[in-house]
Point group: C2
């Protein structure tokens, strides 16, 4: 028995059903402007500046047990990101929402990782003004991805606070605009692997924590949750965690968090759409607290997954 | 009459010939692991981590008047870059060289921009060790690209030293590993456009110049050339410029260059494969010196293009 059974038992049953499916989209479906195609057949033109300059923004909502979770939060953030990069979606928000819902329904996938990417397109930005570039949209739905999977969540993940790489600063690339320029994260991932940790967390090179490779970091100390404010993506999962904290009557703050705070925390969580709220029990090779998943992490975790059934923040999918 | 006629007259004649060609590869040819395809038909899998994480390195040599220029320098740098990212080319250096030469020959393109990209491939790095990832190679040959074209070279380009964006620091992403994570350059390009300049040059946020969007910057003061040492790509064109300087008996140094040095320079050049040695005559809206292309820039420029016929550093292509 593990606290994680609460969601994983149902998840396993749905995955088993999905694996029996002969639906050609059961392993993923994509849209790249024309027809829907099986994900593994989808392609991007070699000349797309989303590839040749990583000139794009993206977002990732998830579907859990047949319900889109906080899709509007992701669409809001995606619109803001595109706007900051002077990208214009080739499709309206209504069409985007309805295609995503349609793709999930067609795939039959009940627990899905959903990606939307808007690229600059085939014209190179310097040669053309933003408004002269026909931006392109790529959409993907695939079976749910776990940054930290069931087994790791039971006992907690291990992270390393990275030494040789600092988070790209906000003066270079805006981390609130979700992007795929993962150079610092890639270096962090390689360092974590060398140091025997599963995930990296990066600092800002100026005494503060920022985030990990595709996840926000949340620390709990004396019953209060804190998470770094600057130099990070404004995570939807992080927002959900603070909503859960509020509900549980816990104090919380998004603020500057010194690196040392990670080493003094009672509990630590990695939070991201791909996996949710994932407890961390080892930091730089040493146990956090007693090395067990903490009680507040478990309480937040349960609130987080309960919210995936809250009609106020979910859209149920009408599977065919 | 312009100093630029020296190369552009021949170039125009060759472009006119190319435009008459009915060769399906005359507008570009690509290799993505299988058959050669016309460039505009070439695609990358949507799931390639070269797209989904910009996890890749690349390099760009050029062909001029039917000769590959400094190809070995580019292959050396590309190998070093792949090694630093723990990427392993799926093809040997010999095969890479011979495919590039073959592709140029097949295309009939006499003046070409050639790109080689090695991506992480379909496996995500955190889930798999580098050695477990089958890395992929993409090759492209297309008609020569000009960061600064003939007309601009005649009178010199205009640059802006960017204010709101700093170059991604070396502690985040290694600029000596040629990469497509252009977030800072993209911001710089947008700022330059807003300020009425053609190109951005970025600082390191710590009082020193770095480079521009895909080009190194070279300043000439009192007959000496300087170019920033840290936080930049170790440009092959920059190397060619220093070789040319040496030949002309000019002093040169790759070193820390304060931002103010740009405003005190006698002459300024942007240097990159896509266009070569390109004089700059306007900085932040004001003329540099007398606002004319300077004599040392012209001398370096001529040496640079003469070197494109030097058998020591070129490989002539055997067009069919």
């Amino acid at each position: 028995m593990s606290y994680t059974d609460y969601i994983f038992e149902g998840y396993h049953a749905r995955v088993a059903e999905l694996q029996k499916s002969d639906n050609p989209f059961a392993t993923g479906i994509a849209w790249t402007g024309g027809d829907y195609v099986p994900l593994h057949q989808a392609t991007v033109p070699l000349l797309d500046n989303g590839f040749l300059k990583s000139d794009l923004s993206y977002d990732v909502p998830a579907v859990w047990d047949g319900r889109f979770f906080r899709l509007e939060d992701h669409l809001d953030r995606f619109e803001t990101g595109m706007s900051k990069l002077k990208l214009t979606s080739p499709i309206s928000r209504e069409e985007l929402r309805s295609r995503l819902v349609e793709m999930v329904a067609m795939s039959g996938i009940r627990d899905a990782y959903v990606m939307m990417i808007c690229t600059r397109g085939l014209r190179y930005l310097r040669a053309y003004a933003p408004e002269e570039c026909q931006n392109l949209m790529y959409l993907m739905v695939m079976p749910y991805l776990w940054v930290s999977g069931e087994e790791t969540q039971k006992t907690g993940a291990s992270i390393a606070i990275v030494r040789d790489t600092v988070r790209v600063p906000t003066g270079s690339i805006d981390p609130t605009v979700k992007n795929l320029q993962w150079g610092d994260f890639t270096r962090g991932i390689l360092e974590a692997r060398e140091r025997g940790a599963q995930y990296p967390v990066l600092t800002d090179g100026n005494g503060l924590l920022t985030e990990g490779s595709g996840f926000n970091i949340v620390l709990i100390k004396d019953g209060k949750l804190v998470s770094p404010k600057r130099g990070v993506l404004e995570g939807v999962t992080r927002k959900s965690v603070m909503v859960a904290a509020e509900k549980l009557g816990l104090d919380w703050e998004i603020c500057d968090v010194p690196v040392s705070a990670a080493y003094e925390a009672d509990e630590v969580m990695m939070v991201t759409t791909a996996g949710g709220v994932m407890p961390v029990t080892v930091l730089d090779g040493k146990p956090i607290g007693d090395g067990q998943v903490g009680p507040l992490s478990k309480a937040i975790w349960k609130e987080y997954w309960d919210a995936h059934y809250d009609p106020a923040v979910t859209i149920p999918i009408n599977y065919r």
